[in-house]
């Protein structure tokens, strides 16, 4: 534990003045010990308890946090889990478009997402919800059903509408977060700092798309199923008691790859790209197809669009 040995000037160069540092650390550890005693959270290490908000961490602090997380994950899952922290790519705002005339509701995207993003298998958490809607009713959510399970899809007279985080430009979930644990990144992705989230679930109440999910139980993923390529703000394994959501596969898209849901879709209904790039397929969709936003009247201004390809 760093707290027991006073800060060495040679050890990092990140230390504030020695006296100030040791007092803070002493107080911190004392508070952590009291908190641990009161809450019974023995698993929470002092470092974790004292960790600041992700946006306010210095570069070296981020490295320390990531090293700690990687160590914890290795202990827990018995394999190397890489936690990335790739920043937004300059000049990029991500946009997503989904072709309602092609989606057949096969739920391949839902399960590919679970696999890619390390969602808890038990209790089950899924970031994408596929709604089965009636053609006669159109996009009328009063007539939506997401537990449908016929032998074959698409079912006669129905169409399908996958709903996931719409990555709003005016995200109500961010507005209501009392601690600032969720925010919109420069590339338009709304992210959560799972180590800062207090689990109040205000954001879930605020989100009109049902896109946020709470870890009611200790998330369980078999070691072999853990995707070791993770991002701090994305698919790293989450603790119990925090909220999580779709991040457009931040760990993939910031590397230039397509999201997992897009790559698995057998009908090619899902389109993704840079909204600022005039040559991107997403811009082609927005400029040439009939496009709508879900619950546009709420002025959340999604960067997720639905369109009709035919």
């Amino acid at each position: 534990m760093t707290a027991q040995e006073p800060c060495q000037p040679s050890s990092g160069g990140q230390c504030p003045s020695t006296e100030e540092g040791s007092r803070r650390e002493f107080l911190g550890v004392a508070v952590a010990a009291v908190a641990a005693a009161l809450t019974g959270c023995e698993k929470l290490s002092a470092e974790e308890f004292l960790q600041d908000k992700f946006t306010e961490l210095s570069k070296s602090e981020v490295q320390t946090v990531i090293a700690r997380l990687e160590k914890e994950y290795k202990e827990k899952y018995g394999k190397e889990v890489k936690v990335g922290n790739a920043p937004p790519v300059p000049g990029v705002i991500f946009g997503y478009a989904l072709d309602l005339s092609r989606c057949i509701g096969c739920r391949r995207c839902v399960h590919a997402c679970v696999k890619e993003n390390n969602q808890s298998r038990e209790p089950e958490i899924q970031w994408i919800k596929v709604l089965e809607l009636e053609k006669e009713e159109g996009v009328n959510l009063q007539h939506a059903e997401h537990y449908y399970n016929p032998d074959e899809v698409p079912r006669e007279g129905h169409f399908y509408m996958p709903v996931q985080c719409q990555q709003c430009k005016k995200p109500p979930c961010v507005k209501v977060c009392p601690v600032g644990a969720t925010w919109r990144e420069k590339d338009g992705i709304v992210v959560v700092d799972y180590n800062w989230c207090i689990g109040c679930r205000y954001c879930m109440a605020a989100c009109p798309y049902g896109a946020r999910h709470f870890n009611w139980g200790e998330p369980q993923i078999a070691s072999k199923d853990v995707n070791p390529e993770t991002h701090y703000l994305g698919n790293r394994p989450r603790p119990k008691g925090v909220v999580e959501k779709c991040t457009f596969c931040i760990q993939r898209t910031r590397e230039g790859k397509y999201p997992a849901c897009l790559e698995v879709c057998p009908t090619g209904s899902r389109k993704f790209g840079n909204l600022l790039d005039k040559e991107s397929e997403i811009r082609y969709v927005l400029e040439n197809k009939r496009v709508f936003k879900l619950k546009e009247e709420l002025n959340t201004q999604p960067n997720f669009f639905y369109f009709y390809g035919v």
Partner: protein, 191 residues
């Protein structure tokens, strides 16, 4: 899709015109930045995986050897070979040699007679489905994988649509989400 049957020469001429229009359109497409930026491939082609042939069936010239047997160009229902293929594509009068070439069996041909390899069969499809070809070229029809800001992989039309029966086949959906009551019943689950 029901089109007029072909007793007269008019539809044939129309098809020729269409084919011409399609090739002209594709040539123009390549000048556009959309196609150029997205496709890192020789000018006339888009990189795609190999066509999904039934195992051992290609090259067709293994069996269809023009020197051994003159091709029978009479429009008919096949009785001896390829009986597993039922054509559900376009007008009833359409048959094998409208797309497959009688004298170059390892190729297809356009309506104007120009040969097209199986690797670029999208040109053939695009004769009638020009709007789909346009969308496919810019990556909006069909699936692309790879990098959103770089190299991409395309699929041919025939990877998703069986050319003899192109309607996209229904699939078994993957399991639905657990209902809330089901989650609560399990031990160590929800609460």
């Amino acid at each position: 899709m029901t089109q007029t049957p072909r007793p007269s020469i008019l539809p044939g001429l129309f098809a020729c015109f269409l084919a011409f229009a399609a090739t002209a359109a594709t040539a123009e497409e390549h000048k556009k930045p959309h196609a150029a930026a997205a496709v890192e491939a020789p000018k006339d082609q888009v990189q795609v995986p190999k066509p999904p042939f039934t195992e051992g069936i290609f090259p067709c010239s293994q069996c269809h050897d023009p020197s051994a047997m003159a091709p029978n160009q009479k429009r008919r229902v096949l009785k001896d070979m390829h009986t597993e293929i039922t054509l559900h594509h376009g007008p009833d009068t359409r048959w094998c040699l409208d797309c497959h070439d009688a004298f170059n069996r390892d190729n297809l041909h356009l309506a104007n007679g120009k040969l097209v390899s199986f690797n670029t069969s999208y040109q053939l499809c695009g004769q009638c489905h020009g709007d789909k070809l346009r969308d496919w070229r810019v990556g909006v029809h069909g699936k692309r994988t790879g990098m959103w800001n770089g190299a991409k992989q395309y699929l041919l039309c025939v990877h998703c649509h069986n050319p003899h029966s192109p309607h996209f086949k229904p699939l078994k959906p993957m399991p639905p989400p657990a209902r809330p009551e089901a989650i609560q019943l399990k031990n160590g689950g929800a609460r």
